[in-house]
């Protein structure tokens, strides 16, 4: 482990000075400048952070409303960047994983793909999608080597549209595109300018083919036009309309997410009657699926995939109503813990088993807040196997009490971890995973 204190100190000073400067300039910023500022920062955020920090933001907001949102966003973004810096301070020298999101934004595609070749799993799926989208804007080998490319791409609506198109591709397809890019770029440094151009053209062709983009000609159109170009997204769109826009695959995934939060009783009431009519939920007709989702959304309220694992930080609850992050942040720490433990006590054994399983199967503390990691667990056989094992092992009433106690312990330990110094968090998290393994007498890998 190597800690680069000079980098940290310089970066910290830079982030704080930039925040102060931006806040001072904010009153005189025009509408386009505000949109540009949000775009450049938001481009480096994961989806969960973006949703949290930019709640209520739209490029179609009136100027003063936009300014108010940006005034709140900048300090929150800086706090997140400082946390990221703390988390990465002990990872310098560990390739791409050791770079903060801010640093990744300031690197050339050539440098990032070079590092990715050494550690192909270092980026999340959304980060891979972002890098592939940037590749599309590398019209020439010079741009591939240009560290200011990320600053330039955010000006074009197509950059965000390409990312959206890549994000809905199956993960296998995205990974395959990444593999092709890594293969083709391997020889990039050794080729002549013409050969490099040819490599880039071929690669850009593969990406456009995967997302069904007919031509690359329009990529640079509409500089700083508002996004989405089709017009503003209305806030809090009612569920029926939202469901109408979902593919069958998305509808099934939504049902999986909701089912993952159900108590056994809720599952029996809401889903078991359908078992008589359909062999599996995959056989539910689309209309029936939509109708079921509407009912469940009404009875279960708003849910996010992070509700099991991000409770301590954001005030989400598995049972009962979640508390808004703004109000959660105001509560005394001891009260937060008591509320989290009360949530544990309201969970039934199945929900407790899911909470423990998700914590145990998250490979790092950061994965607790990674939407991609938590979504993939729904299809991970280990997630199901661990739940089954927990439920079987603790099936009797006396054993059930042990599971509840373990659930409370895990909750309290995660809460303590969140309050620990950033450099201590990852170690604490691995201790929590070890504590779970010990409590369950694991002696083999699941």
């Amino acid at each position: 482990m190597r800690v680069d204190h000079t980098r940290d100190q310089e970066m910290r000073r830079y982030l704080l000075a930039r925040e102060a400067q931006l806040l001072a300039q904010l009153p005189s910023m025009g509408e386009e400048e505000l949109r540009w500022t949000v775009r450049i920062f938001a481009d480096g955020l994961d989806e969960a952070s973006k949703a949290l920090l930019l709640k209520g933001y739209s490029e179609y907001l009136p100027l003063e409303a936009m300014r108010a949102v940006v005034a709140a966003f900048i300090p929150q973004y800086t706090r997140l960047a400082l946390q990221d810096l703390d988390a990465k301070s002990s990872m310098v020298g560990e390739g791409l994983r050791g770079f903060t999101d801010e640093e990744l934004q300031g690197m050339s595609s050539a440098e990032k793909w070079g590092l990715l070749a050494k550690n192909p799993d270092a980026l999340t799926s959304s980060q891979v999608a972002r890098e592939l989208a940037r590749l599309l804007f590398c019209r020439t080998p010079d741009l591939f080597l240009d560290p200011s490319l990320p600053l330039a791409t955010i000006e074009y609506p197509a950059y965000f549209e390409v990312q959206e198109a890549l994000a809905v591709l199956p993960d296998d397809t995205l990974q395959e595109l990444k593999r092709i890019a890594l293969d083709q770029l391997e020889t990039f440094q050794r080729g002549s300018y013409e050969e490099r151009q040819k490599t880039l053209d071929a690669l850009r062709g593969k990406i456009t083919e995967a997302i069904g983009l007919p031509t690359l000609d329009a990529l640079s159109e509409g500089r700083m036009e508002r996004i989405p170009r089709k017009g503003p997204i209305l806030p809090e769109e009612p569920p029926p309309l939202f469901l109408e826009d979902m593919s069958l695959e998305e509808l099934r995934m939504s049902l999986k997410v909701l089912a993952d939060f159900m108590s056994l009783e809720e599952f029996r009431e809401g889903l078991l009657p359908l078992k008589d009519r359909y062999p599996s939920f995959y056989d539910l007709p689309e209309e029936e699926l939509k109708s079921l989702l509407r009912r469940l959304a009404f009875t279960m309220g708003d849910r996010t995939i992070l509700d099991y694992t991000a409770r301590a930080l954001f005030g989400r609850m598995v049972t009962g109503s979640s508390i808004s992050p703004e109000v959660w942040a105001l509560l005394p720490e001891e009260e937060k813990l008591q509320r989290l433990l009360a949530d544990c006590d309201r969970m039934d054994l199945v929900q407790a088993a899911r909470h423990i399983s998700r914590t145990f199967l998250s490979p790092s503390s950061k994965a607790l807040f990674d939407v991609g990691v938590q979504l993939r667990l729904l299809d991970d056989p280990r997630y199901r196997a661990l739940q089954d094992r927990l439920i079987l092992q603790f099936a009797s009433p006396s054993q059930g009490e042990r599971l509840r106690e373990l659930n409370r312990q895990v909750t309290a330990l995660v809460w303590e971890m969140e309050g620990a110094a950033p450099e201590a968090r990852e170690g604490r998290f691995q201790e929590i995973r070890e504590a779970i393994a010990k409590a369950l007498s694991f002696n083999e890998v699941l």
């Binding site: 806040l23 001072a24 904010l26 009153p27 709640k55 209520g56 300014r67 108010a68 949102v69 005034a71 709140a72 900048i74 300090p75 009962g320 109503s321 508390i323 808004s324 992050p325 703004e326 109000v327 105001l330 509560l331 005394p332 009260e335 008591q338 509320r339 009360a342």
Partner: protein
């Protein structure tokens, strides 16, 4: 006190946390902590939340959490930082079903 209740506070000043973290008053920008200081509200148990401009009335407001009283307070003032009025509501109103927690 001029009124109370979450609904009133959110109707007048917006959803909690959605306001600004700086205000521009008479050509100078103020952070929330600076506002608390200027207004004489900078105490240990006061945690600022957000601020807003009440443009129609030429007034400003800062919202904060009084952790001792467990109340969300919206404090209104004019461009000379003179007190105009305040409204408050118990934080339980934002916490849903566990009001007696």
């Amino acid at each position: 006190m001029g009124g109370s209740g979450r609904d009133y506070i959110e109707a007048r000043y917006g959803k909690l946390g959605d306001g600004a973290t700086i205000l521009l008053i008479e050509g100078r920008s103020y952070t929330l902590l600076e506002l608390l200081e200027v207004l004489g509200l900078h105490f240990e148990d006061i945690r600022p939340i957000d601020a807003c401009v009440l443009a129609d009335e030429d007034l400003y407001a800062i919202r904060y959490f009084d952790s001792e009283e467990r109340r969300i307070v919206a404090y209104e003032f004019d461009r000379h930082f003179r007190y105009v009025r305040e409204v408050s509501a118990h934080i339980a109103e934002w916490l849903g079903e566990d009001e007696s927690f």
